[in-house]
C-alpha cells in the first residue's frame, strides 16, 4: 500500500516527508492519516486504524 500520509503527524506526504522521532511507533495511518490506537509492551508494539485495521507500527 502506498504511503500517503506521514505516520508521525498525519499530514499528507506532500506536506511532510516524515517527522516521526527515532524510536517512535507510527501514530497516524499511512493510508488515511487517521490517528492510530497504539499499544506498546516491553517487547512488542501494535497499531490499529479505525478504517484500515491492524497496520505496521514501525512504518
Amino acid at each position: 500500500m502506498e504511503t500517503q500520509f506521514c505516520t508521525g503527524c498525519g499530514s499528507p506526504v506532500s506536506q511532510c516527508a516524515g517527522c516521526a522521532p527515532p524510536l517512535d511507533p507510527a501514530r497516524f495511518c499511512a493510508q488515511c492519516g487517521r490517528r492510530l490506537t497504539v499499544q506498546v509492551t516491553p517487547t512488542r508494539v501494535t497499531a490499529k486504524c479505525r478504517d484500515h485495521g491492524v497496520v505496521n507500527p514501525r512504518a
Partner: protein, 334 residues
C-alpha cells in the same frame, strides 16, 4: 588537573573510606569539574557503585496499562489530555493483556515488572483492577510487581502494599524550585507526600528524576538533596526525549557526556540506591550507553517504554554480558 585530582580524591575518601555521603559543597565541586574530567568522575562513580551495591544489575520491564487522557499538565508528557499529542488515549488493559506483557518481561530475564497508568491518582475502580491483577502477575510469572498510579492516599497505599505491590514509582521529576515551571495541576509537595506515604506503609519507593527540561545545575543539586530526603530504594534516571505536541518539544537533548556526568553525580550523591537507566537513554547517550553502565548505573529498563520504543532487549543483555555484569535482584542497600 591537580584540582580535579584533589576533588575526586576527597570524594573517593568520603564514600569509600569513611563510608559517608558527600556534602552539598563536595557535590558542587564535582559538578564544576571540566568536561575532560568526566571519565575520571565516572570511574569513581563505578567504584562507589560496586562498593555500596555490588556487581548485580536489576532488569525491569514496564507497561503502560492505561495510556493517554491524563488530566495533569506535566510539560514533558505526551499522555496529557491538555496537549495536542499524537498519542491516542486507550482504556485500561484487560488482565490477560497485562499478563501477556508480564510474560514478555520474564522472557528477557527481568525480575521486575511495573504497571503504569496515566492518571492523577487511582479511583476505586482502578484500585480494584490493580489489586486483582497484581497477584495474578506474581503467581504466574514470579516477577516482583511495581506500580505507578499517581498520587495516593494513605489508605490506597496501604491496600497496594497489602495486595503485593512491593515497589511504587512516584517521581519527584525535578527540583521543588523548578517544578512550577513544568507542572501546574499539582504541586511538588503533593508528590513528596505520596513518596513519604509509600515508604510509611512499607513499599519500596521508586522515585526518579527527569533531566534536560531547562533546570539549572544548581536545581539538579537541589533535586539530589530532595531525593535524599525521601530515601528511595530506586531512582530511575530519565533524560528528556522531547515529545511532539508537548510544551517541551522544542528543547534539545542533554549532551551525551553531560548525561554521563549526571549519572555519575547521581551515584555519588545517592551511593546506595538502585540507579536505573530509564527513558531517553538511547537518544541521549547514543554510543555511550555502555559507559553509563560503568558510571554508576546498576539497573535498567529493557525493551520498550510507555509510548516509545527502546532498543532490542538482546542488545542490552549483550552489553551486560560484555561488561561482565550479572543480572540480579536488588534491594535498597543504604
Amino acid at each position: 588537573m591537580v584540582r580535579t585530582r584533589e576533588v575526586l580524591a576527597d570524594a573517593g575518601r568520603a564514600l569509600l573510606d569513611e563510608c559517608r555521603q558527600l556534602t552539598p559543597d563536595e557535590l558542587r565541586a564535582l559538578v564544576q569539574l571540566p568536561p575532560e574530567s568526566v571519565p575520571a568522575l565516572a570511574s569513581l562513580a563505578h567504584e562507589v557503585r560496586l562498593a555500596w551495591c555490588g556487581p548485580e544489575v536489576e532488569v525491569e520491564g514496564i507497561l503502560s496499562a492505561k495510556t493517554g487522557g491524563c488530566p495533569e499538565d506535566c510539560s514533558f508528557c505526551s499522555q496529557s489530555a491538555r496537549f495536542e499529542s499524537p498519542v491516542k488515549a486507550t482504556p485500561f488493559l484487560d488482565a490477560d493483556e497485562i499478563l501477556a506483557a508480564a510474560e514478555e518481561t520474564v522472557k528477557v530475564g527481568a525480575s521486575e515488572f511495573c504497571i503504569v497508568l496515566a492518571v492523577r491518582g487511582p479511583d476505586e475502580r482502578i484500585m480494584r483492577r490493580v489489586l486483582d491483577v497484581v497477584p495474578l502477575v506474581r503467581e504466574r510469572t514470579g516477577l516482583n510487581v511495581a506500580c505507578s498510579l499517581g498520587i495516593l492516599t494513605r489508605d490506597q497505599a496501604e491496600r497496594l502494599a497489602a495486595g503485593g505491590v512491593h515497589r511504587y514509582n512516584h517521581n519527584l521529576e525535578t527540583a521543588r524550585s523548578f517544578f512550577p515551571s513544568i507542572v501546574t495541576t499539582h504541586t511538588w509537595d503533593e508528590r513528596f507526600e505520596t513518596c513519604q506515604v509509600v515508604r510509611d506503609v512499607g513499599m519500596e519507593l521508586c522515585c526518579g528524576a527527569l533531566l534536560g527540561m531547562g533546570e539549572s545545575n544548581e536545581q539538579r543539586l537541589e533535586l539530589l538533596q530532595q531525593l535524599r530526603e525521601v530515601e528511595p530504594a530506586e531512582v530511575p534516571l530519565n533524560f528528556l526525549n522531547p515529545r511532539p505536541g508537548t510544551p517541551l518539544m522544542i528543547r534539545k537533548l542533554v549532551e551525551p557526556l553531560e548525561a554521563i556526568r549526571w549519572i555519575a553525580l547521581f551515584r555519588l550523591a545517592l551511593p546506595g540506591v538502585i540507579l536505573r537507566y530509564a527513558g531517553g537513554r538511547e537518544v541521549t547517550l547514543r554510543e555511550l550507553q555502555a559507559m553509563g553502565m560503568t558510571s554508576g548505573i546498576n539497573a535498567l529498563i529493557v525493551g520498550n517504554y510507555l509510548t516509545t520504543l527502546g532498543r532490542a532487549p538482546e542488545q542490552d543483555l549483550q552489553m551486560l554480558e560484555d561488561l561482565r555484569m550479572p543480572v540480579g535482584v536488588l534491594s535498597k542497600v543504604l
